[in-house]
Every structure is written in C-alpha cells, then in structure tokens.
C-alpha cells in the first residue's frame, strides 16, 4: 500500500470512481439509443396487418413511398417461418439436450460425462455462421437438394443444444439429493424417478433454460442465410426455403424501396426476444 499524501490518494480515488460511473453509463447508452430508434421509427408501421400480411413487392413499396404513404403489407411470412423453424429446432434440441443434461447430472466426475460437457461447451462457442455452413453441408446439399426450412432448423437446434444441456444439469444439481433418495427408497425404478420426480421438481429451471435458448436463436440471421434462404410467401414445407423475421430484415435492408420496414420488423423481433427474457426471469423469481 502506497503511503503517499492523503490528499493525492483521495483525489485519485474520487477520479477513479467518477470514471467508473461515467463509463458504466456510456456502456448502457447504446441500448437506450437503439430502443429509442426502433420505437420512434418503427412504431407507426405496427398494426394487425403488419403481422398478418406478407411484404409487398418492390414496386408497390416504391409507389407507396412516392405517394408519401406507409408501405403496405407486413412480415407474416417471416413470423410464420421463424415460428416454424423455432418449433422444429426445439423438437430436436429439447429432448436431446434435456436427456444429455440428465446424463451429466447422474454421472458427475466420470470421464465420458466430462468429455461431453467440455465438447458441449466448445459447441456453444462455435460462431453461428459456421453452424450454417454445417447445416448447408449436411442438409441443403444431400437431403433437401436445396435451401430448406429443415436445414435452418438444424443449424438453430445445434445452437440451442449446449445451452439446454448446461441449464438442465445445473438445475438438477440444485435439487437436494435426499429427494432422489426418498423416491428410490420407495422402490421406484430409476427412469420413473427421473420422469416423475426429478424433472417435475426442476421444471422451472429447465423451462428457463429452454426459453433463454429460444430467445437466443430468434434473432439469428447468418446461419439462416446459408440454409433457409428466405421466401416471399408463408411456407410450412420443411424441404423448401422459408422466410424468417431476421432474414426479412436483411432483405428490406438491401432493397432501397423497402428500407423503411426495417425498424418495425426489428421492433417486433426485439419485442419477441424481450418477452421471452422477461418471462424467464419471472419464472426464476416465482420459484425463489
């Protein structure tokens, strides 16, 4: 500890504190600015039509612009595509992720479990565009012979997996060991202990992990560019290309006539992500 003059030390201390506060405020400035931007520019476009109709083509948009009107249409194809792919990705990722999480919980310290956990962690750090490449190689070429919703879902499901695995394991680890023992002491077979005691008891934690992983993939654009490609119509055929909200945003961004739609679409996207986050936090708070 320096024994400099007290005044200097105090001065340094106060300057540092002010700097910390200033920097912290700067840190959250972007979020405030971004939300302001999205709301101010995007809110006027939001309507029921926006959710239920598909986008106009570029000429309709140009006409509307030149007449000073709001661009007609909406992002129904994007919303449908996003929902479709999210559900498919969940169908793949949730069972595998939860069961693997249970495996890790039951085999603490064993080599296979440690390996799986490490690999899962590495998988979590893989950039989403690489996952898009993988889904392209695995699905677009050999399976669906073209861009498809299935490929998009696969890339999203690989993104969800590590998060679900980790949150499942952590949730189960927090259940007191004696609950499991009590069930076993009643002569309940192992798989029933898992399904009817452990999973229900840890349900809120599992659900939170799942919701958070979904909110993570909602906004992903890059992998979908290589897999689902986009489509102007609502499409529920897994072997065909499909739209998604982030993909639409990207299309609008690239079309000078449609650019105004980017704010409302982003606003909707952010609203979806935020609601999931808030719901998860509520669930966590409820169980405390």
């Amino acid at each position: 500890m320096q024994t400099g003059k007290l005044k200097i030390r105090t001065l340094k201390n106060n300057i540092f504190k002010s700097t910390v506060i200033v920097f912290s405020v700067v840190t959250i400035l972007p979020i405030l600015l971004i939300i302001y931007e999205l709301v101010s520019k995007g809110i006027k476009q939001i309507s029921f039509d926006f959710i239920l109709k598909t986008p106009p083509d570029t000429f309709e948009a140009m006409t509307a612009l030149s007449n000073g009107e709001l661009i007609p249409g909406g992002i129904a194809n994007g919303i449908a595509g996003t929902l479709f792919m999210v559900i498919m990705a969940s169908v793949i990722a949730i069972p595998v992720g939860v069961i693997t999480g249970i495996f890790l919980y039951e085999n603490q310290g064993k080599p296979l479990a440690n390996l799986t956990r490490n690999v899962s962690d590495i998988l979590q750090g893989v950039p989403s565009i690489v996952l898009g490449l993988i889904a392209y190689i695995w699905i677009v070429k050999p399976v669906t012979h073209g861009f498809s919703a299935l490929a998009g879902s696969v890339s999203l499901s690989i993104m969800m997996l590590p998060m679900i695995v980790r949150s499942t394991e952590e949730t189960l680890k927090m259940i007191p060991q004696t609950i499991k023992e009590a069930a076993l002491a009643l002569g309940v077979p192992y798989y029933k202990v898992i399904l009817r005691v452990l999973v229900p008891t840890g349900f809120s934690g599992l659900l939170t992990g799942i919701l958070l992983s979904i909110s993570r993939i909602l906004g992903e654009t890059a992998p979908l560019m290589l897999t689902a490609l986009g489509s102007s119509a609502i499409n529920f055929n897994i072997a065909k290309p499909t739209s998604a909200v982030p993909l639409l945003i990207w299309e609008f961004y690239n079309d000078p006539n449609m650019v105004d739609l980017i704010w409302s679409s982003s606003l909707l996207l952010m609203a979806m992500v935020l609601s999931l986050n808030i719901i998860s936090k509520r669930i966590v708070a409820r169980t405390k």
Binding site: I21, F23, I34, E37, T116, G125, I134, Y191, A222, L226
Partner: protein
Amino acid sequence: MNTDKITKAVLQFSSLIILLVAGGMIFSLVEGAVPAFKEFGFKFIFSNNWNPTEGKENFGALPFIAGTLITSVTALLISLPLSFSASLFLSEYYRRTRMAKVLGMMVDLLAGIPSIVYGLWGFYVLRPVLIDLGLPNQGFGIFTASIILAIMIIPYATSLSNEIISMVPNELKEGAYSLGATKLEVITHVIVPSARSGIVAGYILSFGRAHGETMAVTMLIGNANIIPNGLFSTGNTMASVIANQFGEAEGLKLSSLIAIGLLLFLITGIINTIGKFIIKKMA
C-alpha cells in the same frame, strides 16, 4: 426386464449424440475444405488473393484472418475499460443497490439484441456521426465495425468479471480497509490480483465471441477483400466474407469458404478453450 439398464443406455446414447455432432462438424468442415487446400496448399492461409473469375481462380484467407484479428482486438480494447467499469459498478461500488439492479438489467439487455439490429443501428445512426467526425470511406471500415463489436461483447466480459469480483472474500477487503486503504487501492491491490485470472478469462471469452459475430460486422466493415492497411480502412472478416460470398458459391470458391469456416472454428475453439481452462484453474 431391467429398466434401469435401459435408462442408463438411453442417457448415454443421448450424450453420444453431442459427441457425434461435434465430431461430424469437424469432419465435414475438413472434408469440404480439402479441395481448397489441395489446390492452394497451406499457402492458402497466407495468401492475399481473392479472385473468383473463372479460369483464374485464386483464393486466400489472409485478408480475412487479418480483418478478424484486427477488429476483434480493437473491439476488445474498446470494450475493456467499459466492461471493467460496469463490473466494478455492479460488484463493488453500488453492489446490491437498486441502481446496480437497473444497470445489470440493461447490460443483460445488450446481450439480447440480435446482431442484425446492431448492424442496422450502426449503419443508420452511428455511421453518419462518424462521417461527420471525418471518417473516410463513407464511415465503413474496421473502426466502425469494432465499435459496434465492442458494444456487443461488453455483456459477456461484464457478467463474468462481476461474478469473479463478487467472489473475492470480504475478509481480504476488510483487512485492507482496516489499514486505511482507499477504495481504489483496495481494488488495485486486493481485488484485481485476487480475481485476476477470472477477469482475464472473461476477456478471453469475449474476445472469442467477437470473432464469430457476422451480421453487424458485414454491414459496417465495407466488404473489401484486402488486408486492412489502417484503423479506418475497409476490410472483411472470416465470418462476414462467408456470409457475403456464399450466394452462389460452388466448387473451389465454396471449398475456400468452407476452409475459412474451418479456420474460424479452430481459432474460436482454441480461444474459448484457453478461457475455460483459466476459469477452471481458478475454481
């Protein structure tokens, strides 16, 4: 009929799926990259060319590796003081107060904004400001991309540092205060040394994160397949070139892009493993 054995087998099988997926990924990336490496050899990694014209195709990854590194390092440097301040705010100065809760929530929110939205904001809001400040190239370039990237990775470093700093035992801090130390001195002499590896690990992990960001970078970096020659030059990163050029890529071009994907996978994998390793040693 022993259901216990079946249960155990099912659990094990499920974990093997993850291992298979990871192994399959490496295999597919390598398999897809082989044609490029066969054609260009390992010089691919150091080559500066990017010429998709038929007949004279020549691809190299160097510009993108350089672009990725420069943007990630710059982003890390920009985010460092900001996220360090935020984590000190949350875990030391205003710990357990209402303000800290609010700040914490906002930092979490930063993590929830999709990359494309950051890109839009950077394009339409930040860029004009930078142009006014005199930036060349219409405001596109390494610098612009790095700023947005820095904002995007702040939450990761902040939450990890926050956790680690909170774990520094109270007794240590109280010992220093009781000797008459100022808060700054406690931070420099007690907290940081004690939490050092955790803080470093947090930065390493956010560094890895920066490598993989695609959309925001693509929209701001200028998409020039050159090695950046300055902080304000345009350029391209590994992730953004894949996104940009994937369009109708075939044959050698496709293979080169996959090769870049493989490199990206390896680099981020190594960075993240180092970070996780440091965290494990701390615990």
